[in-house]
Symmetry: C2
């Protein structure tokens, strides 16, 4: 009656995390780590070489080619498969994006290792698994849906989900060292409009200046 082991590929730019996850999974008899990648390019090449696994453990924040980029690559080739996404920070927008890409597992890195095991077992059966902090976030997001306090400050600062798409777009460009004029030209809007957006961002995020915006962008992995 014993079925085949679950094969897992791990992608993370920190080798130490890969080794850690491998070590955690070694204790699980039904799970087998069949490969790993330390950046997005490596992972994509792994797929291009027709390698396969049952579950992909995917870090979002990798240099050059990010985890999200990899997911878009997989979607393009109809290779989307059971995946557990790892992220340093909770970000409801990111969760929504990877959810749309068919990802069912989502875990913050600060969570304990056992959650990875749970997540693997869940996604292999097409079930969803969210780490504890993510669950909270989703619940909060749903309950806030109709409330008017969406833009108010929570105990740990404003959440990125309260920024509009346009604001995030402009925030990214600011964090890319673009001046207001450059942003205006890039988006075909007025300099005044960009200034308004910047002003609103500074107010919403509650920082002092563009430096604060850049730090926020880094923290939420927008750069």
């Amino acid at each position: 009656m014993k079925s085949r082991k679950i094969s897992v590929h791990i992608a993370d730019d920190h080798k130490i995390i890969i080794d850690g996850i491998i070590a955690v999974l070694e204790d699980e008899e039904d799970i087998d780590v069949v490969g790993f990648s330390t950046d997005g390019t490596e992972l994509i090449n792994w797929y291009k070489n027709n390698n396969k696994c049952d579950v992909l453990i995917l870090d979002i924040n990798m240099p050059e080619i990010s985890g999200v980029d990899v997911l878009y690559f997989l979607k393009q080739r109809n290779l989307i498969q059971p995946t557990v996404v790892l992220s340093s920070y909770d970000d409801i927008k990111l969760i929504k994006e990877v959810l749309k890409l068919g990802v069912k597992g989502f875990i913050a890195k600060r969570c304990a290792g056992k959650h990875i095991v749970n997540a693997i077992r869940a996604v292999i059966h097409e079930e969803s698994y969210f780490g504890p902090s993510i669950q909270e976030l989703i619940v909060k997001n749903f309950s806030n849906k109709t409330s008017k306090v969406n833009n108010e400050i929570s105990q740990d600062g404003i959440h990125i989900s309260s920024l509009t798409d346009r604001e995030i777009e402009i925030l990214k460009l600011i964090a890319d060292q673009k001046s207001t004029r450059e942003i205006a030209n890039a988006l075909f809007i007025s300099v005044n409009t960009v200034e308004t957006h910047r002003k609103n961002l500074i107010k919403k995020i509650q920082v002092k200046n563009v430096v604060g915006l850049a730090l926020y962008a880094v923290k939420h992995e927008l750069v």
Copy 2:
């Protein structure tokens, strides 16, 4: 003839890394993980409660109280002990700083897990252990000591070691969203001087504006 196990405490704000290291160390019969902390405050409290371990595995980049802060705390209380420092980025200034604080082990997180085991075995015997990339960096730093190309651009951008202490000090304050006037007041120097430093920083680091400086500061864990 068999001696006591080496007791280890692990401090890292990513629980998943802690669990990973624990799993890696589980395979080692002579090493025992006796505790862990997910931030600097927790770790300091652990020491305040008179807990002890043979080797401390210490992540540098933790929120609120950083690994370096913890080392200063330990130094103040003459509690400096065999320590392996973990860092996401190589930074010769950081290495020098922790070396001065008595740290003998230094590993980049991108390194494989086995290096941690090697490092633990080294520092417990008062020997030094540097991960592969760190070794390279140290060698490069020594060979560059007398050369004049110290400030030139390497393939992956300028290295933090080419910034002076004062520049790093000012860079930190800029990344802390302080204005030029605020920095001048804080350091009891002229606004003009701070502007000169900022200008030099932008030129040296090859960025466009303060946003670029902030990003650089984050990348090199100065914030």
